[in-house]
């Protein structure tokens, strides 16, 4: 069980974001679906994916991966070509007009349970529209299978909640994987900037400013953008980025930034509900399940779950 109480998902969007390929995103999605189906709060979830997901074999790595099973009444959004490989009894509710390499994306109601293959739009604005449409068409909540790689553009941007999936595929060194996971989780929990008083501008603009102001950083925040923002003798008290998907800087750059005394904020972000770990990698190595789970949980304030054994730290 990942979500003990699914009632807060009512009318909301939950994105499952993978830190790497084979982090177990689909397993997480199935587990969340089980949580939803087994509780009475929600009955009909809506499910889609950024790009393609739900195949038996991972197209990128060739490894066997779990499929997504939905129950009768659930609503899915997927591309026309993928609908042919779903074994639900399908009722077409809406044509979104969004096209993908696998055809136009349709919103479908499952008139029976079944295995589904998901392939939604990969453009942020289209995903936002799709999430709204699924809710309008009767989905109680929307689950989005996010792209693998937290740094994919717009990953989970519009979601209310997020689950971060990490796994051994991220690297051979367990401590390094744990550190990366903790760092990403930290960035996904940055404080949200609430006031509107900050001025937008580049670091150069800021240098001429007299006071210790806040600095808006629209768009991608790379190592150099982050460090320039905090450069100079009077670094800004607050540096404000759009959302966690725009934070592309490294751990070392972030450490340097923190030493200047500046603080990083985001304008919006989903609430991180849990972090999941998959001790099995696609490369053939695997971590000790208990060690991986304990080490990760030791660094985080949110629940950490082993997706393979389905146990919580």
């Amino acid at each position: 069980m990942i979500l003990e109480d699914t009632s807060k998902l009512k009318g909301k969007v939950l994105a499952v974001v993978g830190l790497c390929k084979n982090a177990g995103k689909t397993t997480v999605l199935n587990a969340v679906l089980d949580d939803i189906y087994s509780q009475e709060a929600l009955i009909f979830p809506g499910i889609t994916s950024i790009g393609r997901d739900g195949e038996t074999v991972d197209l990128a790595t060739g490894t066997e991966k779990p499929r997504i099973f939905v129950r009768e009444g659930s609503i899915i959004a997927t591309a026309a070509d993928l609908l042919r490989s779903c074994d639900i009894t399908a009722e077409v509710l809406m044509s979104t007009g969004f096209t993908t390499p696998l055809g136009s994306v349709y919103i479908i109601r499952a008139r029976s349970g079944g295995w589904v293959q998901l392939g939604g739009p990969s453009i942020v604005s289209q995903m936002e529209r799709l999430e709204k449409d699924m809710l309008i068409l009767g989905a109680d909540c929307v689950l989005v299978d996010g792209a693998a790689g937290r740094r994919s553009p717009g990953n989970g941007t519009s979601a209310d909640y997020a689950i971060l999936a990490s796994g051994a595929s991220l690297g051979r060194n367990i401590d390094e994987v744990v550190r990366q996971t903790a760092f990403t989780a930290e960035l996904m929990q940055l404080p949200v900037w609430e006031t509107n008083c900050a001025e937008s501008g580049t670091p150069e603009d800021w240098e001429s400013a007299e006071h210790n102001a806040e600095l808006m950083l629209p768009g991608a925040v790379t190592d150099s953008v982050l460090l320039e923002a905090a450069a100079g003798s009077r670094p800004p008290s607050a540096v404000i980025a759009d959302d966690p998907s725009k934070l592309l800087f490294s751990y070392t750059a972030y450490e340097k930034f923190l030493r200047t005394g500046s603080k990083l904020y985001v304008k919006t972000r989903p609430q991180l509900l849990a972090v999941t770990v998959n001790p099995v990698s696609t490369g053939g190595w695997r971590f000790d399940s208990d060690e991986f789970l304990e080490k990760t949980a030791g660094k985080l304030s949110v629940p950490v779950i082993d997706v393979v054994r389905n146990i919580k730290a």
Binding site: D87, T89, E91, M94, G103, Y106
Partner: protein, 492 residues
């Protein structure tokens, strides 16, 4: 006209207009501002064509007038715009279906939505007698295949009772599904899942059979639906035409033996003129068969008249309202606009050589239904020869049935033409006043442009052309001794 094109004309009763002319005449500018709602309307605008059949053109104009004159036109338009806007181009699926291919469930969904929208548009159209003249077949038969329960909901599935077999299969599927959920252990779960896989296989096969049956039933109806796409585009464009008539200063032209435009404008040029602070002077012109000549001031004006004529004649022949106070013209099936200055790079000939080739081609094609517009022909060659060529050209065209208009700055062309027009230019303006304005202004050219009247007036063949070039030299302050030399040449 190629055989292919001729066939097309016979089938559709329309003659395509070259893209180049659509752009050059300012027609593209007008079309870009019509905002059709449906993909079919957009397609009609993108392939702008004029009517080959005079009777069809008369019917079209009558429909536009009646529609615009309907008391409830605005409500009708707003109501129709909603379903029109939601139409998707389903012709790809229709042609697949007509070829005997089976459609996918998503395609049947699109088709069902299309037909529901079509039915809605038919209902609204039923309230307006003008629109009722557009044939829009009742899609009832299609709906009975796609919406057997007749609920009219915008969703599609193959109903359980589409066949007794399907009903049985889906019942089993549901039963085994609940067994999976209730399974005690994973071994039992797997057993039921394997059962389910088999049932899903049977469901897929039965659905495929039903999709084939529905597609086969639809295939004979695809022709009507494809024609409906064209009719829906036509309704869309009729609404835009009626809109033009109601909201812009336009009229529906009448049919006449001669071409008459009073106070005609060209919106693209008018917008450009207004942007630079001026105002567009409407053009009035009357043409009989044969040649008319426009002469006058050096600073533009002649081209504006020709482009306004081309634009409004094309609009008139496309069944659109025209930008004029009133307008009448016979059926014109071909408009040609030739600019003498355009270089013919493609054929690698000199500017003049290219122009001769184009004039030869145009004279070949010019028939009774032609409006031939020549802008400064032979303008780039030496003035003595150029003037002789233009006088010859005008004399020749004046003896032909086509309507020709030749804009030229050469002298003594007028006596060769049937009608003469002159750009008003600076006539009637006080040179002293302009001069003092120029002295207080950064750009003398702009001051002159502001005073320049691009309107046309008919003049006699004998009327001497005003020496406006000399006036402009003086206004713009050419050196006194230089002016003396020039004036001496004039008197000689």
């Amino acid at each position: 006209m190629t055989d292919n094109m001729r066939n097309e004309v016979q089938q559709s009763g329309l003659i395509p207009v070259p893209r180049e002319l659509v752009r050059k005449s300012g027609l593209q500018y007008v079309l870009d501002r019509l905002s059709p709602m449906s993909p079919f309307g957009a397609e009609i605008l993108a392939n702008f064509a004029i009517f080959a059949d005079g009777e069809a053109l008369v019917r079209e104009r009558r429909m536009v007038s009646e529609l615009a004159g309907s008391a409830d036109f605005r409500e009708l338009r707003d109501e129709l715009d909603i379903p029109l806007m939601r139409l998707r181009d389903i012709r790809g699926s229709l042609s697949r279906c007509a070829r005997g291919e089976d459609l996918l469930i998503t395609e049947l969904f699109e088709l069902k939505v299309f037909v529901l929208l079509l039915r809605r548009i038919r209902e609204i159209r039923g309230r307006n007698p003008a629109l009722c003249r557009i044939e829009l077949p009742d899609p009832g038969q299609v709906l009975s295949l796609l919406d057997p329960s007749g609920k009219g909901e915008e969703r599609y599935r193959i109903e359980d009772d589409a066949s007794p077999e399907l009903k049985e299969i889906r019942k089993e599927k549901r039963q085994v599904e609940s067994l999976i959920y209730a399974a005690k252990d994973s071994a039992e779960k797997e057993k039921f899942r394997a059962q389910r896989d088999q049932i899903c296989g049977a469901e897929e096969a039965e659905e495929r059979r039903l999709l084939h049956e529905i597609s086969a039933g639809l295939s004979g109806l695809c022709g009507d639906l494809t024609r409906s796409c064209g009719a829906l585009g036509h309704i869309d464009i009729l609404l835009r035409k009626a809109d033009m008539l109601g909201s812009q200063e336009t009229v529906i032209p009448e049919r006449a033996e001669e071409i008459i435009f009073r106070d005609m404008i060209n919106p693209e040029i008018a917008a450009q003129v207004e942007e630079s602070g001026g105002s567009f002077v409407p053009v009035s012109i009357e043409l009989s068969r044969g040649a008319a000549v426009i002469t006058g001031a050096n600073m533009g004006g002649k081209t504006v008249s020709l482009k306004s004529l081309a634009l409004n004649t094309l609009l008139a022949m496309g069944g659109y309202p025209v930008y004029a106070r009133n307008a009448a013209l016979p059926d014109i099936s071909r408009v040609m606009l030739l600019s003498g200055n355009a270089e013919d790079h493609e054929r690698g000939l000199s500017s003049f050589g290219g122009e001769v080739v184009r004039i030869k081609d145009a004279v070949d094609k010019a028939g009774p239904g032609t409006l031939l517009l020549l802008d400064e022909p032979a303008g780039g060659t030496n003035p003595d020869e150029g003037a002789a060529i233009v006088r010859g050209l005008v004399t020749y065209l004046n003896g032909r049935e086509a309507f020709s208009v030749i804009a030229t700055h050469y002298d003594r062309v007028a006596p060769c033409a049937g009608r003469n027009y002159r750009i008003k230019g600076l006539q009637g303006e006080d040179p002293e006043k302009i001069k003092s304005e120029i002295e207080n202004s950064a750009s003398g050219v702009q001051v002159i442009a502001r005073h320049m009247n691009y309107g046309l007036y008919p003049c006699s063949a004998e009327e001497e052309s005003p020496r406006e070039a000399l006036l402009i030299c003086r206004l713009l302050g050419l050196q006194g001794d230089l002016m003396e030399c020039i004036e001496q040449q004039y008197s000689e």
